[in-house]
Symmetry: C2
Subunit: 565 residues, 2 copies
Amino acid sequence: MTEMARSMHNLIPASRGTEPADIVYRNAEIFDAFSCSWEHNDLAVKSGIIVGIGQSYRGISERDLCGAHLVPGLIDAHVHIESSLLVPYEYARLVASRGTTTVIADPHEIANVAGVAGIEYMLAARTGAPVDILYMLPSCVPATPLDIGGARLDAGLLSRFVGRAGVIGLGEMMNVPGVLGGDKEVLEKLSLSGIRDGHAPLLSGMDLNAYILAGLDSDHECITQNEAEEKLRRGMYIFVREGSTEKNIEAIVPMITPYNVCRCSFSTDDCHADLLFREGHIDRCIRKAISCGLEPELAIRMATLSAAERFGLSDRGALSPGRRADFCIIDSPRTFRVKETFFLGSPVSAYTDAPSVSFLSSSIRCTTPSPEQIRLSGHSLARVIGLVPGQIVTASLTYDLGTSAIPDTIRDLLKVVVCNRYGRGLVGTGIVHGFEFKRGAIAASVSHDAHNIVATGTSDTAILAAIETVIRTGGGMAAVNGHEVTVLPLDCAGLMSSLPASEVTAKLDALGKATTEMGGITDPFMYLSFLALTVIPALRITDRGLFDGVAFRDVPVFYGNDVSP
Amino acid sequence: MTEMARSMHNLIPASRGTEPADIVYRNAEIFDAFSCSWEHNDLAVKSGIIVGIGQSYRGISERDLCGAHLVPGLIDAHVHIESSLLVPYEYARLVASRGTTTVIADPHEIANVAGVAGIEYMLAARTGAPVDILYMLPSCVPATPLDIGGARLDAGLLSRFVGRAGVIGLGEMMNVPGVLGGDKEVLEKLSLSGIRDGHAPLLSGMDLNAYILAGLDSDHECITQNEAEEKLRRGMYIFVREGSTEKNIEAIVPMITPYNVCRCSFSTDDCHADLLFREGHIDRCIRKAISCGLEPELAIRMATLSAAERFGLSDRGALSPGRRADFCIIDSPRTFRVKETFFLGSPVSAYTDAPSVSFLSSSIRCTTPSPEQIRLSGHSLARVIGLVPGQIVTASLTYDLGTSAIPDTIRDLLKVVVCNRYGRGLVGTGIVHGFEFKRGAIAASVSHDAHNIVATGTSDTAILAAIETVIRTGGGMAAVNGHEVTVLPLDCAGLMSSLPASEVTAKLDALGKATTEMGGITDPFMYLSFLALTVIPALRITDRGLFDGVAFRDVPVFYGNDVSP
């Protein structure tokens, strides 16, 4: 007999009621995702599978839920686990406690750092987690041909992972020009799987048609209702995103109706551990959507069956016979606080021992730059990267520095340094405005997408000390203020911490306290981590120096060193 | 490059509008299946694929639709093509003219007659048809271990077809006791594919749960709203059936809402050519559903995107970039008359030449029985099969025959004969009430599920002449009234005619005229074709003789020949 036939043979008697189930949950308000309604009934589980709903089931054990509401385990349609700063097991423990039982994850960050080995690590790290982590293969490593980190993944390398357990498709295709230009390598990647996630911010009209024609039939980048409506109408599944910095629920929710809810899901994309720890995960998205006026039943449908259907996961997303016993008990549909989560029939609170997966080595293979390497030579008119509050885009500013030195804390002009972490000896230095530090420096090995070490601060000495701290720690986030050094070690590939979420949150709090004492803005590490992302306008810093994200070329800091200002 | 990459490379420029499309349909009301609404716009097609919707497209040719309504090609979620009496190509031409562009067909009848060769024929016959015919492998050949026709298909034989072009899943699993009993062979069949259609008339409660748990997540047998609601709630896709004799739309439609429409589709199951020719196919179902109060947009959604989604066919079911250019022009949403159908961008009216597929030989390998072989020996109390008007169930009647001969046209008691068509020399004879013939006889090689030759009539001579006619014709339906012989030859496996639908309809009309002149009820061939179906209560006739479909055993015609009455 096949494994599936054996499993059915084992479960059918319990499903028919001729044998007892493992456990029967009695007296529940059970969410019916197929018709978006509630049903007062009992739910029977055996071997981690829902064997039936009905009041005639007997169980080896039984539990009276006293009328509590039961909903299917929540599903995140698109997330980068690395952005939480937690390793997959700790991430899973955290989000499971908030009702999540499946995440569709794109290991884009670790793949940029460690390539095939990074994906292998993420696959190994699925084992034993209280959440089913399913991967979409990272389609854009590196993000641009200019922006090479630790790896380059072509269609051939990615194809090795097709068909592997835990791999279900191709992750967000950010190379929109490559798709529209019919780039051979991009099209080969799109041929790897029938499930391909899109990433098409603001794309519209004929170019949107062409992008969808190429098979990219989902999007998590909509920021307006019009944008989401056009994409839905042209065949895209809409993942409404609510991350740490990208918050789209309020704008998008008004377009969701009973007619189209089956094509809409939630995505958290990038969320730091502290937000997940304090405010929740997909449960937070549901509460937010309800507060924006969405019927609770539609919000729950989005977070469960709609996401499952989009990815062809017929074994989950609803509470019906033969599906995984992934579900959670909530206080009420409208307030949606998760009280208890079950993963394959077991309470997720029982998951306390991390499995023995060897963490990926840190891949920090550089030494601290010399003071000479971060010296800026030039004067008068300079290009300055301007932070934009609440956004990852930057402004391209021009300052007349005269002969004044950088840093200039009066005008808030600080040095920003990117140091190649892969041992290539490259160091780029620029000027940034907006961090507001009065003393000290910060550095981090999280720096999209190549994840080199990036640092800024009020003196060369402090900047080099912060970089030194990150290197000595084997990757992490560091704040250096005189003799006070605060660090969150990111021992897994320099991107994730193996500590539990509560400890990572405490260390993030300590970093926040330190940077505030240094006079800095809120969340400086978040802004810092995007300063090297060359695919976003306007001005960026890489390990080669300043980069013009509009003209898409390297540029010098001082106009005097340029051909023309 | 992969084929898919090449295809994208070819289409992307037209999709972006940098090259002209093959044709642009201007000024249409385009159905948006994703939000169940209409959009006034233009639709561009290239190489049979929709490349875009929008008013900036140019085409090598253009056509002004003057505001006509455009809907995606209609999809039949479950059908037996053989029941139309047409070969696949002629069937496709007929239903295509009514707006259908995809059918999910279960070649259950021909597989019972010709096994693997029958399925191979149906697969070959897909080629060149103006409808995409996709097959679900017949899961129950033979229908019961007692009822063996021309083949026995176990999981091993079926597995040869898994992965073949045109095969998308496992067809309706009618062996409900086998599923519930955990029968090894049945479970092996269920393991063959992730898409498995159910068939569970009246199944409810825990047994329904167990049937669904086994992976059977669709049903086309619901006859009441309650039944459909329970099945939907437990995770089944509901195919609302409207066949020649099984009409369920009126009862089921009231439960369909915007919340669950994505889980509901239409099925025609068994429809003769004359019904399809005169009243239509899925277009008929849509009109019927609308007349029963369903919003037109929900009815169209059922017939398009919902069916496509159920079968994982992301390349159709909606008018959006990258999908097949399968669509039709209708007069208006509410009246829903199809005016023109396009299959992969070409008008289906252009399909006039049948492809050269060798028809399957008739597999009629028997000779006409001798008068002795159909003689009934016995007297007094007899078991009589009673027709039930409008149903395929029969009544088990008892008549005191005394010493009177059969046929007894006064009491409407006629002989019914089943003659094994596969050359096994078996002949069974019984008595039937309800056909009302006063003269002549009819015979047919369509007789579910083994498709032996079945006949009834007012004299042994006429019965044998009708059987003789069917055999001589190589399979068909025959009415014999003295010297008048009317025949519809079914030259393909004794089940289907290679004639066009109009001619088959004319011959069915001639047969109807002949049987009416013989004094018979309407549609006698339909009733006759189900008399041998042992899986339906109460009394049946097989090539072994009378069969009690409740006790599930052979029984003698006369009680005197039995152990006890």
